[in-house]
Amino acid sequence: MSTVVASNHQNSPIDTLRKGQMGIISHFSDDQMATKLMAMGVLPGSVVTVIRSAPFGGGFYVKIDTMVIALRKQEARCIILK
């Protein structure tokens, strides 16, 4: 992929990524969301790319490894980047 891993997003949640930016997941800031995300296959070490943020200031549409997932803002906020 030609996209560059954003380096200035250390320890910040993925909702700070702009469209097309990429990052690697470090950890989750909420245990309940973490179990749910991990069960879906979103793991520390997974590569995240923001495909789009929803209209009406809604959620995020992200690609995580091979799958695409829709997240609400507060859900995206608990995923912390490396």
């Binding site: 179990t35 069960a39 789009r52 009406f56 799958m67 829709a70 609400r72």
Partner: protein, 707 residues
């Protein structure tokens, strides 16, 4: 033979989007039954599976879930069934369906399933897609390393299904099964499992661990069992969330290398195709535009295309009624058969075209992978009103008919959001309100033009629609605050890849919806319409007798022809009937709304369906069984209140009645469907009083203000 008497129970389990439904449809075909899991409103699809050795197995399709740590009702069902060996749906065998393309993600739940101690098989679905995508799986190595049986299948093409059947036949003959787990319990978990053993000896070790995690909500536990577990958990200071995270991580660490070493993949064309399509379909501007175009198509189809088969059904029942009346001698039996039973049956079947068309389109959009994206787009907007992104489909189709709309809420996972959608959808003005609006608007608004282009009546028409939308969203907002929910609301939606729809799945969905409606809601509709028929065609004997003699006198005195005489008799009989008495009885309650007892009768009869209002008006004003809105309008405009000498249908009464019909729950079929979807009379009752209460108050305000 003794063992075979009890049917073999097989569970179909897998992650959402693993293609489980295709497998289920392939194995059971039309022999499916949709019911509910005990005590909850989670849909349970069970089907008969004819095995090659001539036996029949019961295949139960469980809701898709990612792990044994659930957050929604649907996901909880999987845990509470599989963690309880004495559950009615506890399976003898589990077929775990995994999407081979996403094997690394889908193995988590499988490794948990395997630890339960229930015989299981790993079915790698989408073998056809894997082949196209250049994905190769070494099933033997995978089977060896996971210590399980692995079978490659495709629910879409039917590949490997015979092997799966053979496995089930052999497996059920030989049930001895032990295998190793990929997860080793921590010392804390080991102690927990040991300490629970004396009280839960019939449970496997992993099932006991699940008890430790989920005892606060597991419904099958008794109060004392719950206490026992709580004590063990507290003594160990066992914290469920960190333990869940630890277990999940451990499992991934073990099976990820296994999965990776068994799979070789070239870059996937399908994925790139999905990415490209998504770029277009989820575009900020293009996406809502496309969505509304699609919804317009859906709306138009229910509205327009459905009208042809509906007219056909209408005509057919009309013909049948006519013929029956001609053949049978006139009397109560003929009336019961035609005006009661046939009318009721017609009233049920008339909805089938709309239901079939809506679900045909929705299930195609769902199969293609579009619906999940639409849900994502509207999630934020709908959240503000306590609704779900998927609610938008119900709200829009409610503009044609609330019945299929309410049935379409099945796909909303969160119960509270689904319930609110069901409760508010009937506020949206449906097509049955149109005849009522057309007749009444003429009395409420003059047919003038403003700014030379806008017809006032047209504007009023639009205003009524907007009023319905405001009521729906407003009610949703209030319900969001009132209703309690234990389940946290998540979006976290995995968006499926775009795929060609499978005709079998689409057809089965439509068939299932039509069948459910006809059989289950149909019973309620039939009973209510029979009741309404009795109310409007029977009355106290003396009153009915008087109606007949009086009509006879008038006919002789005025020399009316046969048709006019029949119309007059129908009108007088309706007045003398129980419905007429009820109308007069409730007159004091509806006078402040500007309604007289004649409107009262129409309110009662149009509970069957709103458009019946027009027909009832025709009968009351004895202009016969005409559906001609123009002649009804003319007759109504002449109606004068005998007490005041003023016109009955003045602006105030007409507006009041219009507003009443926007809000009131004047549709027994919708209530029947809501009862079916919520599995209790509680919610349709609440809905009835919420809507009709709002209608009463609003009409009161409107009439008092205008009069």
């Amino acid at each position: 033979m003794g063992q075979e008497r009890s049917t073999l129970k097989i569970a179909l389990i897998g992650n959402p989007n693993c293609g489980k439904t295709s497998v289920f449809n392939r194995l059971t075909g039309l022999q499916q039954k949709v019911g509910n899991f005990p005590g909850v409103t989670v849909e349970k699809k069970a089907g008969q599976w004819n095995l090659p050795d001539g036996r029949q197995a019961l295949l139960i399709d469980f809701p898709g879930t990612y792990s044994f740590y659930p957050t929604s009702k649907d996901e909880k069902i999987v845990v509470q069934t599989l963690a309880n060996p004495s559950d009615d749906n506890y399976p003898d065998l589990i077929i775990y369906v995994a999407d081979v393309v996403k094997l690394e993600k889908h193995l988590l739940l499988f490794t948990q399933i395997k630890d339960l101690g229930i015989p299981s098989v790993l079915a790698l679905n989408m073998a056809d897609v894997a082949e196209q995508d250049g994905i190769e799986v070494d099933t033997e190595q995978l089977a060896h390393q996971l210590d399980t049986t692995v079978i490659s299948i495709s629910g879409r093409t039917g590949f490997g299904i015979d092997k799966l059947s053979d496995f089930v036949v052999n497996q059920s003959a030989n049930t001895s099964h032990t295998s190793n787990s990929v997860y080793s319990h921590t010392s804390e978990e080991t102690t927990l499992v040991q300490n629970l053993e004396p009280n839960f000896s019939s449970f496997s070790a992993y099932q006991r661990l699940l008890l430790g995690h989920h005892y606060p909500w597991l419904p099958f536990l008794t109060q004392s069992q719950r206490g026992t577990i709580a004590k063990v958990v507290e003594d160990l200071n066992f914290k469920t969330l960190p333990a869940q995270v630890h277990e999940t991580m451990q499992r991934y660490d073990t099976f990820t290398p296994i999965a990776q070493s068994s799979i070789s993949r070239k870059s996937s064309k399908r994925e790139k195709f999905t990415d490209r399509v998504d770029n277009l379909l989820t575009h900020r501007i293009f996406c809502p535009l496309l969505f509304f175009l699609l919804m317009l198509l859906v709306f138009q189809s229910i509205f327009t295309f459905a009208s042809y088969p509906m007219d056909g059904i209408d005509f057919f029942f009309g013909y049948l009624t006519e013929q029956t009346k001609a053949i049978l001698p006139a009397g109560w039996f003929s009336d019961l058969l035609t005006d009661g039973l046939l009318a009721g049956l017609g009233g049920v079947l008339i909805f089938i075209p709309q239901i079939a068309i809506l679900f045909l389109l929705i299930s195609i959009l769902e199969e293609v992978g579009y619906m999940a994206r639409a849900a994502f787009m509207f999630d934020r907007l709908m959240q503000a009103f306590g609704l779900n992104g998927r609610s938008i489909v119900a709200l829009i189709s409610g503009g044609a008919c609330a019945i299929p709309a309410v049935m379409s809420t099945r796909t909303i996972g969160n119960w509270k959001e689904r319930l609110i959608t069901i409760l508010v959808t009937p506020f949206i003005s449906c097509s049955a309100r149109i005849p009522v609006y057309t007749v009444l608007i003429a009395f409420a608004v003059p047919s003038n033009y403003v700014f030379g282009i806008f017809n006032l009546q047209g504007l009023a028409f639009m205003g009524l629609y907007i009023l319905g939308i405001i009521a729906a969203l407003g009610a949703a907002f209030v319900l969001k605050i009132i209703l309690k929910s234990q389940d946290a609301s998540f979006l976290m939606l995995e968006l499926p890849e775009y795929r060609m729809p499978v005709a079998r799945n689409v057809v089965l969905t439509v068939w299932d919806k039509v069948k459910t409606f006809t059989v289950e809601a149909g019973q309620v509709i039939l009973v209510i319409s029979l009741l309404l028929w009795v109310l409007s065609s029977y009355g106290p004997n003396r009153a009915m007798q008087e109606a007949r003699t009086e009509t006879q006198q008038i006919v002789t005195a005025q020399g009316l022809d046969q048709e006019a005489a029949a119309d007059l008799l129908a009108s007088r009989k309706l007045e003398a009937s129980y419905a007429g008495h009820l109308g007069k009885f409730m007159e004091p309650a509806i006078t402040p709304l500007g309604f007289d007892w004649k409107i009262g009768i129409a309110l009662i009869t149009s509970f069957a369906a709103r458009e019946v209002f027009v027909g009832t008006m025709a009968t009351i004003y004895s202009i016969g069984s005409t559906d001609d809105e123009f002649s009804i309008k003319n007759r109504m405009s002449e109606e004068v209140n005998p007490a005041t000498g003023e016109k009955v249908y003045n602006t105030a009464t007409s507006w009041s009645l219009l507003v009443f019909y926007v809000f009131a729950m004047q549709c027994m079929s919708t209530l029947a469907v809501v009862k079916r979807e919520t599995h209790s009379w509680k919610w349709p009752t609440i809905q009835f009083f919420m809507m009709s209460g709002l209608a009463y108050v609003s009409s009161l305000i409107v009439y008092q203000w205008l009069a």
